[in-house]
Amino acid sequence: MKWVTWENVGVDRMACAWLIKQYIDPEAEFLFVPTGQKPLPEGAEPFDIPGVRFTHRRGHCTFHTMLREFDLKDPILHRIARIVDEADTVQDIALEPAAPGLDLICRGIRSTCPDDHTVLERGSIIYEALYAQLAKEPI
């Protein structure tokens, strides 16, 4: 199925795309539209755009919303959601020292890639690595 989001993806959408490919829709195809563009392409599920189903909810990142909507219970994914939350949104409580670093690296990936498809490809390496390492740690 097709998924659509605004171009210039960052930390949250890189995480979402990785999650979609790994856990929700292995055949996922991603489309990118300019920020704010309306209407969104038909037949594609939008994510991380204000007002759509998969978006920020109650101050939490879209990755978090996706875990809830797809009822994914893996505690490691929830730990990643916490990290993405702290990297992507304004949070009073900071429990994840990896968060600011992850944001920085994701911004760096964006600036070294020719397009958003490449960003998602490289971003998935980061999240795969993050997952593998968190799996070794006590939650």
Binding site: P50, G51, H56, R58, T89
Partner: protein
């Protein structure tokens, strides 16, 4: 010339927790409230994104928010506002420097405060470097 973002919003009077929540987020971003009416931040990809999500959140809470980008027309006003942004972070930087002079300074919490205030350092306060150097020299001055 600098582009600025303005957020105008209205929330239902109750529950007050939501109003406090939004206000805290705005303070956390280092936004400045002008004339009790509009919250302003310099436009950067990060502030744009954060303001955008905050506007969406306000709508989610049953409120209404307008987000605009603008430039100053009258000379001097922009400089005055930049100064206000710098003063706001300088106050915190100065507090950290003051705390660092104490024998029993809590370096962990001061480093955390430094990291937080840095995210609001939109116009490169001179004190930023000073605080960083002071913190590093407390840790044994490896960089010197």
């Amino acid at each position: 010339m600098q582009t600025w973002m303005s957020l105008f919003y209205k929330l239902p009077p109750e529950p007050t927790s939501k109003r406090v929540y939004v206000w805290r987020k705005l303070k956390r971003l280092g936004a400045i409230l002008l004339h009790d009416a509009v919250w302003i931040l310099p436009s950067t990809p990060r502030t744009l994104e954060q303001f955008q999500w905050l506007a969406a959140e306000i709508a989610e809470m049953g409120g209404e928010a307008y987000l605009t980008e603008s430039r100053f027309v009258l000379t001097g006003q922009e400089e005055a506002l930049k100064k206000q942004f710098i003063e706001q972070v300088d106050k915190v930087y100065a507090e950290i420097l003051g705390e660092l002079e104490r024998e029993d300074a809590d370096l962990t919490s001061l480093s955390k405060r430094y990291q937080q205030v840095r995210t609001q350092n939109y116009f490169q306060s001179d004190l930023d470097k000073k605080v960083r150097e002071a913190l590093l020299s407390e840790k044994g001055g490896i960089e010197s």
